[in-house]
């Protein structure tokens, strides 16, 4: 059995930042593994650990060389090997929309032929929340979105993903999805482990295979996006909050008169 986990290095913006053109100035960015993907990795590793037969866990990412350190953390937590898709054409692409990413991931799925694909519900930075489901559609897999519980035995023994999904208003839905399938994993489904020192050591010699568009039988047209960013800005914040200065007594008095002005309370 083979599990493919899609992982992404996401940008985290510092508290104070500036926008340069159509993006946050990279000086104010730090990079980390997408939070949702941590849970997807943990689910995949738990599948492998629970299995009697060999289960290979492969992670795939679309990202520059910088992302290898982040990807290696997934390897340290039990992923067996990784595929990293990147080249100059992808680098030059102004904006990778969901369709572009799906074209690349679809080609990786064709090469790897996984039984189950796990992705995060969404990426923390771009937040489309569509890659996993769009990929399922493209490769003709069943899918389950926003999965917050997964029955491991069912996946391993019956070829069925029995998943809980969280619906509006705290309702839980139980669905059975035949494999092969794509599941988008919600945070909280498990408790992602820390990488142990042993795992970190072993990860240093695990493979992160670089793939270019041509390695995947694609060309630059695969990353021609139909979606363009037109602007990025910080909205003006309109705040009606008033801070009353002074000690508790003065603050209370100011609050009382403000409330009275608004017509709150009896005269």
């Amino acid at each position: 059995m083979k599990v493919l986990v899609t992982v992404k290095e996401v940008a985290e913006v510092e508290d104070d930042f500036e926008i340069a053109d159509l993006d946050v100035d990279p000086r104010y960015l730090e990079y980390d593994l997408n939070e949702w993907d941590e849970y997807a990795v943990e689910s995949a590793v738990q599948l492998a650990e629970a299995a009697d037969e060999e289960v290979e866990v492969v992670s795939v990412t679309i990202g520059p060389e910088r992302s290898e350190e982040t990807i290696r953390m997934a390897l340290a937590k039990g992923v067996d090997r990784a595929v990293r898709v990147w080249d100059d054409d992808i680098e030059a692409a102004e904006f990778l929309d969901v369709a572009s990413k799906v074209r690349l991931l679809e080609a990786v799925v064709a090469e790897e032929d996984p039984d189950i694909v796990l992705s995060g519900v969404q990426a923390h930075d771009t937040g489309f929340g569509a890659t996993g489901v769009a990929l399922a559609d493209a490769i003709g897999f069943e899918w389950g979105a926003v999965v917050n519980a997964l029955d491991i035995e069912g996946v391993l023994n019956d070829g069925v993903a029995r998943v809980h999904r969280e619906l509006e208003g705290g309702i839980e839905e139980l669905t059975e999805i035949d494999l092969p399938a794509v599941l988008t994993i919600q945070t909280g489904i498990n408790e992602p482990r820390y990488a142990s020192l042993r795992g970190i050591r072993q990860a240093q010699s695990k493979e992160i295979a670089p793939k270019t568009l041509s390695d995947l039988g694609l060309d630059f047209s695969a990353v021609e996006s139909e979606l363009f960013l037109t602007d990025m800005y910080e909205p003006e914040t309109e705040s009606d909050a008033t801070y009353f200065e002074g000690d508790a007594g003065e603050q209370a008095a100011a609050l009382a008169s403000a409330l009275r002005e608004k017509g709150v309370g009896a005269e």
């Binding site: 020192l197 042993r198 990860a203």
Partner: protein, 387 residues
């Protein structure tokens, strides 16, 4: 996070990953309730197996299920743990450098098989008994005696100030073998459930409160011959362990100082007085600049120590210098950080005063500041002042 001269940029990817995971572990598992543990005088016992699972005990050993990382990676780990609390680093130091290391370096194959895997996972806890009520800085004066009988030894004596003795399964006890010529110091592995062993807890500490400390009483305790560490005789046994542990301390306290500094820096930028943040005052900036410089100095020493250790050129006097310098640095930095926090600085809500209180122990254990001064003095002059 303060790394003013960018030393961490030179770390390998493996070392950076260890730093990041250890930092995350401390952030998520330690910091939320360490202040409460300090106040209650308890060690977070649930972390004992967790730290074991992550490979935090004696990680430089290769084999016996241990990861075998390099010296600098080990240093980085100690730095991150002590940024949480010195009690946490003490746990790792004692278990790793003072218990697992001597078993690994001086133990028989059976002793290694018996103890290293269990100590590595935290399924067993160890302690190191050297200090005695009447012999602290001068441990070679120890009174603990081992008398040979038919197939083992009978131990008598008392040890005090022993980190983790009340929670330990096994104690590495150093005592004099009075049946041999010149009564050499030998190391004994004493299971704490043996008849005649008591491990009373020491309460009322005002420092290192999030760490368990106790005594070891040995009243006609019999241990079999195979519990003696076969590979070492004399003071170099305990002293070589201490060199390992002090290496970790030299790194660890940089973490404690950094944590106190970060708390003070955040606070100074946040706290408004006289119409703006206190960080705009030159006096506060002077304190911050001085702290950052001193921490960076300590960091440089720690990095150099790791370099020398991995080249096998590290002398114990080098470690004395770094331990002495870095602990004093961390003590001063945490006190200055406390000042910047004003009244809030004296509570357990903030880390500086907890670090400051802990530094009083770290200043004293593993060779007091004064004793390391004399070690360096003896090395420089060729005249030992303490013999």
């Amino acid at each position: 996070m303060l790394d003013y001269l960018g030393l961490e940029a030179d770390l390998t990817q493996e070392e950076r990953m260890i730093r990041d995971e250890a930092r995350r572990f401390v952030e998520e598992e330690v910091k939320p309730d360490i202040g409460e543990h300090f106040e209650n005088g308890t060690f977070p016992m649930d972390l004992v197996p967790k730290m074991g699972e992550l490979g935090f005990y004696a990680p430089t050993i290769d084999g016996y299920g241990l990861p075998g990382v390099g010296d600098r990676a080990y240093g980085i780990l100690m730095q991150e743990l002590e940024a949480g609390d010195s009690g946490l680093r003490s746990m790792a130091s004692v278990q790793g450098a003072l218990v697992m290391y001597p078993i690994y370096a001086f133990g028989s194959e059976e002793q290694k098989e018996r103890w290293l895997p269990d100590l590595g996972t935290g399924d067993a806890v160890g302690c190191f008994g050297l200090t005695e009520p009447e012999h602290g800085s001068n441990p070679s004066g120890m009174q603990t005696r081992a008398e040979r009988d038919d197939d083992g030894f009978v131990l008598n004596g008392s040890k005090t100030w022993i980190t983790n003795s009340p929670i330990a399964d096994v104690a590495v006890v150093w005592g004099r073998d009075t049946s041999a010529d010149d009564s050499p110091v030998r190391g004994f592995l004493v299971e704490t459930d043996r008849d005649g062993v008591t491990t009373n807890k020491i309460d009322d500490k005002l420092s290192m409160r999030a760490s368990v400390t106790g005594e070891i009483g040995l009243d006609d305790v019999w241990v079999p011959e195979e519990n003696v560490l076969p590979g070492v005789e004399g003071m170099k046994g305990p002293l070589s362990c201490l060199t390992q542990a002090r290496f970790g301390i030299s790194w660890g306290v940089v973490g404690a100082a950094r944590d106190a500094f970060e708390a003070a820096l955040d606070y100074a930028k946040d706290r408004d007085q006289f119409g703006g943040p206190i960080a705009r005052f030159q006096i506060q900036q002077d304190k911050l600049a001085e702290m950052a410089t001193q921490i960076t100095n300590g960091q440089l020493m720690a990095y150099r120590l790791a370099e020398l250790k991995s080249r096998d050129e590290l002398r114990h006097q080098h470690v004395s210098m770094a331990k002495r310098h870095n602990v004093r640095m961390a003590r001063e930095v945490s006190r200055t950080a406390r000042e910047i926090l004003g009244g809030n600085g004296i509570t357990t809500d903030y880390s500086p005063m907890r670090h400051l209180a802990n530094m009083e122990t770290v200043y004293t254990y593993e060779g007091t500041h004064d004793i390391h001064t004399l070690v360096i003095g003896a090395d420089l002059t060729g005249i030992p002042a303490f013999e």
